[in-house]
């Protein structure tokens, strides 16, 4: 077998740098597709989309005295985006629950470790595919309407269930609040950081991730 003939070699030698140059010039054009602001600041597609939320009063302490009492609320996130306002506001529905016992709050993402409380606030955006899940006070409703899951005795209390793909979460799991106990979800729901100011429970931040 002969080696490379002259013509093929020259073609190859010319083609490689030419293709490289085209790729080098064309790749920044992908930024055209990039949805957020400040397009030249970073190469990362996602990073400077960190949203900012407005603090909101989720509930009053006096409303959540009983174990398993809960309240729905909505937290507004602002994502940078090419709109006339320069941002897009997205609602993050949440639920705040009074648990019957204290758990360690899952606030590592906010830099808070080992804080215990019996008040916990979850984003209701299912960490699986983004549906809005429900807080279901009666576990029998979970068995009837959410894919036939029968909880073991120690979990026979209020649970969280997502109607879309039937993930079930236990908000009061002692090791990991919001643990996935059935269904396809990969992790517990994202959590809110809250502060108690007098009688008000004020939500300040929500864990990032997912599609709102």
């Amino acid at each position: 077998m002969m080696g490379l003939d002259r013509r093929t070699f020259l073609k190859l030698a010319a083609a490689v740098p030419a293709l490289g140059a085209i790729a080098a010039f064309a790749s920044p054009l992908l930024r055209f597709l990039k949805p957020n602001l400040e397009p030249y600041e970073r190469k990362d597609f996602i990073l400077n989309d960190t949203p900012h939320g407005e603090p909101v009063v989720a509930a009053r302490l006096s409303e959540l005295k009983e174990p398993w009492s809960y309240k729905y609320f909505v937290f507004v996130q602002k994502y940078p985006q090419y709109t006339p306002e320069g941002f897009k506001a997205a609602n993050v529905p949440g639920v705040i629950i009074r648990l019957p016992r204290k758990v360690r709050l899952p606030w590592e993402w906010a830099g808070t470790k080992d804080k215990e409380s019996d008040l916990i606030a979850f984003s209701r955006i299912c960490p699986h595919l983004g549906c809005i899940f429900n807080f279901v006070p009666d576990w029998k409703e979970i068995t009837a309407g959410y894919g036939g899951y029968m909880p073991p005795d120690f979990r026979k209390h209020a649970l969280i269930g997502c109607p879309c793909h039937l993930s079930i979460y236990d908000p009061a799991d002692p090791g990991e609040p919001g643990r996935v106990i059935s269904g396809p979800a990969p992790r517990p729901p994202r959590s809110f950081v809250y502060e108690v100011k007098g009688d008000d429970i004020v939500i300040t931040r929500v864990e990032a991730g997912g599609i709102a």
Binding site: P51, Y82, C131, P163
Partner: protein, 389 residues
């Protein structure tokens, strides 16, 4: 080594030239087989595509692509604009008919072995056509901005986010990037509606231009259909639009997930699959199916074209068809027991695939034995594709 590369390159060029010469997009080279209605599917594909594009262009006159205006502009088209119901009905039911026709045609090509030489390229284009049709479908029905559309867009585009869990690719956050580029941000909003509108329009228009170039070059007839069939299909679509006005659903509400959550009918089976599997696999599974569809002409080296002459591939095709129907039925009746179903389905799949392999092996063994017993068999006439069914 260089000449080996050149050889390979030449072989690929040769292969492409050969397949391009015999490329068949809408069964226009199989007109003589149209006594079998399955060979009318190609021209129907072209007809419904034209109907959908023309009615779509007319809808663009009144449609308003904004989160606040979209839903009400379509209500207006449906209820106030003269013949708006007809144009919208033709667009919606034409699109449904298009997907049905492409799907049945794909199964015909599969079971009749039409993807074998020289039909490889025609098969691959038909298969890509189905995928583009489904993408066009999902980008199209978000434009209504009703509950079903909103939640379908949200769940479907959360799936690629899980590709960030993959090794190597994951580190580049490639998956989130797909979702961001389609949605125009990390939330389903105005950005998403604008981009979906562009994609929905672009797929059909670019596709139609390419098809027109193909017809110009090959000088073949575009629509190989009798005037009677053409009139019949158009009238039936119009009648359905009149008797069964296309649905509106409820206005999208980002704070409330509908129960049960549905999508267009051709995605329902996929929704059931998503309930059963971890989310990363829910994204990778359909991709494996697409890859299988694209490379099946090169996987299937069997000689015959009839289904019974290549048992393994027939079993795979039947299994895909049955899963599609059963999963669709399960989600429509809202049956899913997460703790019980997935292992049963996995076991069933493995058993059926092993049975398919056993069948293939025993078939091949019997072929070899038959060849040994009769050393000089008369060459069998090659069956025509029409006999495959």
């Amino acid at each position: 080594m260089g000449s080996a590369l050149t050889d390979l390159w030449n072989q690929i060029k040769e292969w492409l030239r050969d397949r391009k010469e015999r490329l068949d997009l809408f069964d226009e080279t199989k007109v003589e087989l149209q006594g079998n209605p399955l060979y009318l599917l190609g021209p129907m594909f072209y007809l419904f595509w034209l109907i959908v594009v023309i009615s779509g262009l007319l809808l663009m006159i009144w449609y308003e692509p904004t989160t606040t205006g979209a839903y009400f502009s379509i209500v207006r088209i449906q209820e106030e604009i003269p013949f708006g119901w007809l144009i919208r009905g033709l667009h919606k039911y034409g699109a449904d008919a298009l997907i049905i026709v492409i799907t049945i045609r794909i199964y015909r090509m599969y079971f009749a072995g039409e993807y074998k030489k020289p039909g490889e390229l025609s098969w691959m284009i038909a298969f890509i056509g189905l995928i583009l049709g489904m993408i066009s479908g999902i980008t199209g029905y978000l434009l209504i901005w009703n509950q079903r559309a909103f939640w379908a867009a949200k769940t479907v585009l959360t799936v690629p986010v899980y590709f960030d869990e993959l090794p190597i690719i994951g580190a580049t956050r490639f998956g989130s990037m797909i979702a961001f580029v389609f949605l125009g941000g990390p939330a389903v909003g105005q950005g998403a509606i604008t981009r979906f509108y562009a994609i929905h329009f672009g797929i059909s228009v670019v596709g139609l231009i390419l098809v027109e170039i193909f017809f110009q070059r090959t000088r073949r007839k575009r629509l190989n259909m009798s005037l009677f069939s053409l009139a019949l299909f158009t009238v039936v679509l119009s009648l359905i639009s009149w008797k069964l006005p296309a649905e509106m659903g409820r206005l999208a509400n980002p704070d409330k997930t509908p129960l049960p959550i549905w999508s267009d009918w051709y995605f329902l089976a996929l929704y059931q699959f998503v309930k059963y599997t971890p989310p990363l696999w829910a994204g990778l599974g359909p991709q494996l199916l697409i890859v299988y569809g694209l490379i099946v002409p090169f996987l299937d080296r069997s000689k015959g074209r009839r289904p019974l002459e290549r048992p393994f591939f027939t079993v795979i095709g039947l299994m895909a068809l049955i899963y599609f129907l059963v999963f669709t039925a399960l989600i429509m009746f809202n049956i899913a027991i997460i703790g019980r179903d997935p292992p049963i389905i996995l076991l069933l799949t493995i058993v059926v695939m092993i049975a398919g392999i056993m069948w293939e092996l025993s078939y091949r063994r019997s072929q070899v034995q038959a060849a040994q017993q009769a050393p000089a068999p008369a060459p069998r006439p090659r069956p025509s594709p029409a006999q495959g069914h």
